[in-house]
Amino acid sequence: MAYLDHAATTPMLPEALDAYLATARVAGNASSLHADGRRARRLVEEARERIGAALGARPSEVIFTGGGTESDNLAVKGVFWARRAGPAGRRRVVASSVEHHAVMDGVVWLGEHEGAELTWLPVDRTGRVEVEALRAELSAHGDDVALVTTMWANNEVGTVQPVAELAALAAEHGVPYHTDAVQAVGQVPVDFAGSGAAALTVTGHKLGGPVGVGALLLSRDVAATPLLHGGGQERDVRSGTLDVPGIVAFGVAVEAAVKTQQEHASRLAALRDELVARVQAAVPEAVLNGAPPGAGRLPGNAHFGFPGCEGDALLLLLDAQGIACSTGSACSAGVAQPSHVLLAMGADEAEARSSLRLTLGHTSTSADIDALIAALPGAVGRARRAGKR
């Protein structure tokens, strides 16, 4: 068995799991006024401070949510609504063409239902957003832009985006800049204040915390209209009883992931380089997609095109040998669509369908790569025969 799909979700860190279980045994609504409530509130606020400290945000900038998708929706829709309601009535949304669906579909929805004008920023062959395209867009429409959103690092091909440059451009025009850093935290240095971003998405389960809890880091001076109305628990921007055990475990995981980021990244990068080299030795036609390994790419990400194969077929064959990986894009019906990320990078539909994402995490070892390499050439041969039909 080899789990090579850490970008989908990664096992919880033992210390986060311990914290979760310990907290879950104790009741307490963090909004209650009694002693149990105060104890729960204290745990939440400690987690908030811990996350703020780890990610370069003030505690008041940490808004707990139900995960990455909610944080992205809150940033994209919430900031759009607030800015559209402002005196300038701004209604343009600028997003990269390689966003995760949690951002992309929200942006498209704003275009279809809320009268937003949309601008999709192009990327180069490696999936890196063209900074000049944002400069040109802001020069042309800067007065009308409600927000700019581009991810910190791509979930499929692992390309790290020029966040500081993009954020600086947005700041020049006084436009809030949101970045989905779900894949980045724990793999590359992420500092909210230093990045210049106005909003940043982070989630628990990609960095060793639980699923179903995340945060939006949101500058105090950026208004966001709530998605969820109710008790206003989180700065009146987000309602819902706080998930105390989830938040505590999330805080432990963020702190641990950030503290160990550097050594974790060097270990993963070495393992990833081994994986890439061995895949290319075993299947010489394999094409590594995305940015070249180095600072421009997530250390745990390898993403290959296998010409003549369908990623779907490879996934099935590897799965049958106990190897878990991904074609990069999941779909509710279970039918893989050609990845919009690869299409935006200039791949054709066949190339986009021929790809496989292999991602490493804190439990990965060389043995996982051994298992992959043992199964891969046979799987590629079969998938190629199936692809010819």
Partner: protein, 351 residues
């Protein structure tokens, strides 16, 4: 695994028989309502979920394979073209021939699988011969008879020895939630069951004459000859009754001049049926047997001759309403399940 009870039990039985089984649900429908361009649901998303859940309970891997393009081209377009040509196609036959035991089987074989298991109600005996199911009401050998020996060699039909009631009971015993799911009857790509409306949408209105077979008189108008099937009586909307007061039936459809010809019922009685593209299990020549001319139709004794790629059946008794485009399937009656000798696509019939 369609999401129905039959394929779920078939999969479970294949596992019990010791096979290494993987569940596959075919995504066949293009779904224009879905926001993501080119996104495909399955016949319904719910069917896909039911299939996945059944696979979970059985304990086998499960995948959705996207065959929407192939299905659209080989089954849906073929269906429309056949109606446009004045014939009455059976899309389930075409799907078995071109999708389940061609595109799907080919892909499966290439990936290292040995066979396709389906929940069809039919039997495959040890000699590789296709036979009717023990459940005459559910027998599906008619829509499988188009399969060649090569295709059947890679097919498994684990349900042929059981009635539908037994299959449902077994599903319940196995804890499969689809045990009570209603049978599907309609054409899967025409969700509302309105075939005529579907064809009108695809082919457009094409008004033409409804003509009396005997006198040649124009009796009325239609909106598209493709909407009619030989033997049809209802929906002709003729203003004047026949002089003798007898009911009138569709006798033939002539796409060239977009004419629907009607006449008395006994003009539908056919004694000779011709078919082409036969799939035949034995050497050319003449055999005695029974023929079935439509899905769930009665079998009728006949003498069947197959030679040079053509099939001719002389029926012992005339049969009313033989539609070109349907399959003629030839059976050899047998106590262990009637044996399929072969099939062909009906081209015409004669009194």
């Amino acid at each position: 695994m369609s999401g129905g009870v039959d394929s779920a039990v078939a999969a479970a039985r294949a596992v019990d028989a010791g096979h290494d089984v993987t569940g596959v649900h075919l995504a066949l429908a293009r779904n224009p309502q879905t926001y993501r361009t080119g996104a495909r649901g399955c016949c319904t998303l719910e069917d896909s979920r039911d299939a996945r859940r059944a696979a979970d309970v059985i304990g086998i891997p499960f995948y959705v394979w996207d065959m929407a393009d192939r299905f659209h081209h080989d089954v849906v377009e073929d269906f429309v073209a056949e109606y446009a040509a004045g014939r009455t196609p059976n899309p389930c036959v075409r799907c078995n021939e071109k999708i389940k035991f061609a595109a799907l089987l080919d892909r499966a074989l290439a990936l290292g699988f040995d066979a396709v298991v389906t929940g069809h109600h039919a039997r495959l005996d040890e000699a590789g011969r296709l036979r009717r199911s023990v459940d005459p009401a559910k027998d599906q050998s008619y829509v499988l008879a188009v399969l060649t020996a090569q295709q059947l060699a890679h097919a498994l039909f684990p349900l042929g020895d059981s009635t539908k009631a037994q299959v449902r009971a077994e599903a319940a015993r196995r804890g499969l939630a689809v045990a009570d799911k209603p049978d599907s009857h309609d054409i899967c790509f025409i969700a509302d069951g309105d075939t005529r409306g579907f064809l009108r949408q695809r082919l457009g209105a094409a008004p033409g004459d409804i003509v009396d077979a005997t006198t040649g008189a124009v009796l009325g108008q239609h909106d598209g000859a493709y909407a009619y099937t030989v033997g049809q009586r209802r929906g002709l909307r003729l203003e004047h009754p026949a002089p003798d007061g007898a009911r009138r039936y569709v006798l033939s459809i002539t796409p060239v001049n977009n004419t629907v010809t009607v006449g008395p019922g006994d003009a539908l009685d056919m004694s000779t049926v011709y078919g082409d593209r036969p799939v035949w299990t034995r050497a050319d020549g003449t055999v005695r047997g029974e023929v079935q001319l439509r899905a769930h139709g009665e079998a009728t004794p006949a003498t069947v001759d197959v030679s040079s790629g053509q099939l001719r059946a002389e029926l012992d008794q005339p049969v009313r309403g033989v539609a070109a485009g349907q399959a003629i399937v030839v059976y050899q009656p047998d106590p262990g399940g009637d044996i399929v000798l072969g099939s062909a696509t009906i081209t015409r019939a004669a009194a």
